[in-house]
Symmetry: C2
Subunit: 368 residues, 2 copies
């Protein structure tokens, strides 16, 4: 095992991975175990300095079991999703040598060594803000670094996918497509980057946090129930999404905001429509979400061309994508007007960021 | 004209028509003017002693124009829908003679005589409680009686349909199917009775009035926008509904409550799903509607077999159909528990009926 056995050592890697927000939604699997989707999806990866997961992974001959802590609390790694990621990564681990520390781990050593994982989300877990996407992407990325896995991002994305489907999209910045693939073993169900983070850097993303409570229906069970009971989901996956994917790729390529906004809003609404068509029906949006949509729709209608796109994941929180800094400022004004601070005891709001900064894919998080 | 011209007379007819609640929904027209739907629908007609319209129609040689009052307020009859109904009925009017009053109206007289219409709803107008269905059915029925129109109910239903699509279903009691028809002129788009009001008389209907405010999106403009923009509506109309119509007819024939409930709930949810898939999206249900659904779904799941079916029209109010008097009593208990009186200033509730009576298709209206 380690070159100088008997001597205690720890080898550690820390990584940070942003979350991603789908603008053409992933909802429904054709293979539950391998996590293979029934349609392609497209997402925007957020700036890692905002919503992100930070994960430290460590290996030491003193570790007797694989263990993990999420936000400071130990969680079990026995679930199939963690086991699949760990198994796939161990099988691809290579020799690691740190001469300074006098550490040498052979490919074979990795089969017996155990890892400790400590992961933190800087945003609410399981509130429909894609925490598992950032989480599994970061886990796979940091472990791959620790274990000296020599695979390209695309292969790593297929491993992250087995932890949480949408995690595969968080391994790239910018605009990312998750290709559903055709193979039974999932080898071609991988993420690819459509455009990097500099391609369209005047977009500003504002997240209106309607509720940070954990959602009642997890995405995993929700999409399973939709596939089993909705009479509309197959039509969506086979007839509607393939056309939208082509249109969305074109809109992103041309930085065509009106098309981007129309497709994002329509696809978000259709995702929630198939949730409602599930038996029993799944409601992720609430009255506040509906009010935010009405506010944006009225504004876009009044201006004659979309100023802001909205998209909602499996929760009531609104992800609002503004055309540029100016519209983002106007949007914040409108949100403050329609959802004034302390207008309701349930609705208290604050700006978690001091203002709009000039980074690409800026994220501002507010409570409504 | 009248036999004794110069002498003032008024001939009057009063009728009462109940509203109907669709359990397989009508949403979307293939012909806006003739009001021809894109799918069949099935409804339950309510007991006329509860939600209903009362309409008095009168004719007199002194009337200089057709005029109408709705709930005491004069409204214009110039709209195409009223004009279509009046034109169709006038064309079919026959001779009327009242020897006692000394009145004789020939077929030709009807072309020049004018009518006055006074209509009252005993429930909120345009709050998604199918007020226009009862209203136009009653208008056509009472005018047909006044004008001595010698057509069967089915022909009258085709006239009422041109006032408000779902009105055609209110001309029969019990369970009614509106056949979409194939003809371009709409002559085969008529209502037929599937079973009369005595066929399944242990059902109890409770309407939970969530809001009596007028809805933001009228059914007419809503369904037009859905047909124009939803990518799911055609699949619903062509693939899903035809199968559900067959299953629902079977469930009604066999008084099979579990199937009846499952189909009603699924079709209500799918109707709201295609509303959500509309651009801009249409929300008729609110958080209270969602809570009522969750409450019913949990109860039905716990019991292993449906106790209560829910269906929501173009508004947030819940129509709850209980299997029998016992489940209706339990449902009322649950509603009172989950939506206690005055728990919120916005939610005040009362029983508008003194209790559950034993009539067929009993209706109890409560505010939640």
């Amino acid at each position: 095992m380690a070159k100088e056995s008997g001597k205690k050592w720890v080898l550690m890697v820390t990584a940070q991975t942003p979350t991603n927000i789908a603008v053409i939604k992933y909802w429904g699997k054709r293979d539950e175990k391998l996590i293979l989707p029934i349609n392609d999806s497209i997402s925007v990866t957020l700036d890692p300095s905002h919503l992100c997961t930070t994960t430290s992974v460590a290996v030491s001959p003193d570790f007797t079991h694989d263990r993990m802590w999420l936000n400071g609390k130990e969680i079990s790694l026995s679930g199939g999703r963690y086991q699949n990621c760990l198994r796939e990564l161990r099988a691809r681990a290579s020799e690691v040598e740190d001469e300074e520390k006098g550490i040498k781990i052979t490919k074979k050593d990795w089969e017996k060594l155990h890892v400790h994982v400590a992961s933190y989300n800087n945003f609410p877990t399981a509130a429909g803000l894609a925490s598992s996407a950032a989480g599994f992407a970061c886990l796979v990325f940091s472990l791959a670094k620790l274990m000296n896995v020599k695979e390209d991002q695309s292969k790593l994305s297929a491993i992250a996918r087995q932890g949480s489907g949408s995690a595969c999209r968080s391994l790239y910045g910018g605009f990312v497509k998750w290709i559903m693939g055709k193979e039974k073993d999932g080898s071609d169900s991988v993420a690819v980057q459509l455009a990097d983070e500099n391609h369209w850097d005047d977009l500003v993303i504002i997240i209106a946090v309607v509720s940070s409570r954990q959602k009642e229906t997890s995405s995993t069970s929700g999409m399973l129930e939709t596939v089993e009971t909705s009479m509309l989901i197959q039509h969506r996956a086979k007839e509607v999404v393939p056309k939208r994917i082509i249109q969305m790729e074109e809109a992103i390529k041309n930085r065509d905001f009106p098309s981007f906004a129309r497709l994002s809003c329509a696809d978000s609404n259709q995702f929630h429509a198939v949730c409602l068509d599930t038996s029993p029906p799944i409601f992720y949006m609430n009255d506040t979400s509906h009010r935010i949509i009405s506010c944006v729709e009225k504004w876009n209608h009044f201006e004659g061309t979309p100023q802001v796109a909205y998209t909602f994941d499996a929760g009531p929180n609104a992800v609002l994508i503004s055309h540029n800094r100016e519209t983002a400022a106007l949007l914040l004004q409108r949100l403050l007007f329609h959802f004034p601070p302390n207008s309701n005891t349930d609705l208290n709001r604050y700006l978690s960021q001091s203002g709009i900064c000039t980074d690409s894919n800026v994220l501002i998080c507010i409570n409504v």
